[in-house]
Symmetry: C2
Subunit: 380 residues, 2 copies
């Protein structure tokens, strides 16, 4: 199988990730549960991973890295724990359901007012509308750094600057950019960032988290065992314990830790460059296919995602043919991001998403190009 | 390190667990996200694991197995999603904070009435009080199958019978019994069961879930991407999707699946027998140590947990000496179960918990006995 579904999860992981998970599965006790060597081995590894993540995200303190089940869990924790009754929230049509559904719930249950920023004809986020909305007053902006459909990357420095100017707290969903695009929360002025471990970071599934650039009044989402202050009725107040009830995924975090070393060795810029080389090579190869429709602004900052359609053919059909006749894995449909499909008028057709990783090759991309050309001929 | 902290997490996993996770880390896409081979490989493995769990728990349908981050996540999902404003809930002093803290929150936020069933002088759950409380009327009973402190196992058939008689919904926290004690939800009449994957099931951390014996109106805890019905503002209604937002821990579940095969091959009864042989051998060896205090009813049904103290010595000191001088891992303190410590009058001293697994040996237990004898002499 040629795997071009890396925006769903990166299938190919650095070998050291597998080795680290295997090691953890034979050496780790339960982190922060006891003071014996095996528990401490897990605790120490998790602490080191927090430290690596503070370097990755440019936030100040390892205690302000919270581990979660996945990005969805991280976003539920932040949005549900932070956004109070009657708040004004700005978000965008590029958001994933991991942002939209928690916000819709907050609208229903807490009367939160939602404003959606659209995209322009070039599929870019409408920055003028965003500025207007911020000017009208908002408590929170929840925004994806990179769209999982168009692959467009938001100018997060400019967004953060606007948020600061209009006193709006900035929450970034970095599920599609982490590991591919450099982020520095302190320099940019991002308040809160949610990430996943199993996509661009090349870590195992079951990992993800929150990076906090400062102290925020986030009510715990999940409550339960904390390993310390067991006699309190509530979750202890100190971070990260406050937001980390229950046993962490120590085995998965060990893999994430090794993945972060890999990323640090290769360098995010080099990873991004490779992904974009593949994406651009692909684009060049397919651009002239008759009837091809491309979704995204490829002239601006982008991640390694190319979404397309062949004429009016249902994206699921194209993706199925790619899978069954060419052993090429892509993802059709709505990608859990309904509003951008409405904006792109692809809500019934969906789009075929090709998403490249550092581990893909030009040869694989060439096979993808050839396959699309053949399918297109067959359809016309 | 001799590892006697298996009630926190089993450190030694069957080798096939490590192999299965390694395989998944090189072969799995994202389950239920696309229809290509790599996504289907993950989906199929997860489905098979659901099926194995229905056999383990004796519930009817694989769709009624919900995967979660850990038992805490499972309990938060069930308790927060199910228990409505003003409900009457019975629970017990043997509960872990993964039950207590969600219930305290429901008391604060939804005015839920909580009744706590105590233990008798023999450390057993006070069944007469439970019956009285049920008779007075209750909507839910939330109860741990096996105490993580005393190791006592509740007669869950009798509890379920009482619940049925008094029309009370039964939610079982099986974190300490799963994999050691046979459970059949349909035969016993257990409505909902929450479990973890990384303790008695020998699976990786980051796994756990809910087994539903029927259909219950559980509001989703975490909301977000579902892979299907992306245009709905709410989580799709069908199970398991309804309660499984975001990317599942496919890599961890692959390990859990292999662990379930191991358990099925050895047999839960054989696993339990081995654990109890070790626990009883340990008990025989330490029973006569001067000043030893044992917590638990070892004449009745039990899991492989032996909690103790040496005179009035702080449990943390004993545990530290075991760890540092004898390389023996145990867990002191409160074990996130505050109320049973109040009942046992060990809330300041804590207890030293030895918890044995199928992978421990008699020789290791003998070293544990010798260590305790030496420490005791040194203290007296």
């Amino acid at each position: 199988m040629i795997y071009f579904d890396n925006a769903a999860t990166t299938k190919d992981k650095p070998h050291e990730v597998i080795e680290a998970v295997s090691y953890a599965l034979t050496h780790f006790g339960n982190a922060n549960r006891g003071a014996h060597e095996d528990s401490l081995a897990a605790s120490l590894d998790i602490f080191k991973t927090r430290k690596k993540l503070t370097e990755l995200f440019g936030n100040a303190s390892p205690s302000h890295i919270i581990f979660s089940f996945n990005a969805t869990d991280a976003l539920n924790t932040v949005l549900t724990g932070l956004i109070k009754e009657g708040s004004r929230v700005i978000t965008t049509v590029t958001e994933h359901n991991s942002v939209l559904r928690p916000l819709y719930r907050l609208k229903r249950e807490r009367g939160v007012a939602l404003t959606f920023i659209g995209i322009d004809e070039g599929t870019r986020l409408d920055m003028a509308s965003l500025e207007n909305a911020l000017q009208e007053g908002a408590d929170y902006l929840v925004i994806s750094h990179a769209s999982n459909v168009s692959g467009n990357v938001v100018d997060i420095d400019r967004v953060a600057e606007l948020c600061k100017h209009f006193c709006c707290l900035l929450i970034v969903d970095a599920a599609q950019s982490t590991g591919s695009i450099k982020i520095n929360m302190q320099q940019s002025g991002i308040d809160i960032l949610c990430f996943t471990g199993h996509k661009g970071l090349f870590g195992p599934q079951g990992t993800g988290g929150i990076a906090l650039n400062g102290d925020f009044d986030i009510e715990p989402f999940r409550v339960g065992g904390s390993g310390v202050q067991s006699y309190l009725h509530e979750q202890p107040l100190e971070l990260p314990t406050h937001l980390e009830a229950g046993t962490l995924n120590g085995h998965g975090i060990a893999g994430l830790s090794a993945a972060l070393d890999f990323i640090s060795r290769i360098g995010i810029d080099a990873i991004h460059e490779k992904e974009m080389e593949l994406a651009n090579h692909f684009l060049e190869g397919i651009r002239d296919i008759e009837g091809i429709k491309l979704y995204g602004d490829f002239a601006s900052r982008h991640v390694g995602i190319v979404s397309l359609n062949l004429g009016c053919t249902d994206s699921a059909i194209v993706s199925d043919v790619l899978s069954q006749s060419y052993k090429i894995a892509t993802r059709p449909g709505a990608h859990c991001a309904p509003l951008i499909h409405k904006a792109l008028h692809t809500d019934s057709q969906g789009v075929v998403r090709f998403s490249f990783s550092y581990f893909n090759t030009v040869e694989e991309v060439d096979l993808g190009i050839r396959a699309l050309k053949e399918i297109s001929k067959h359809l016309s």
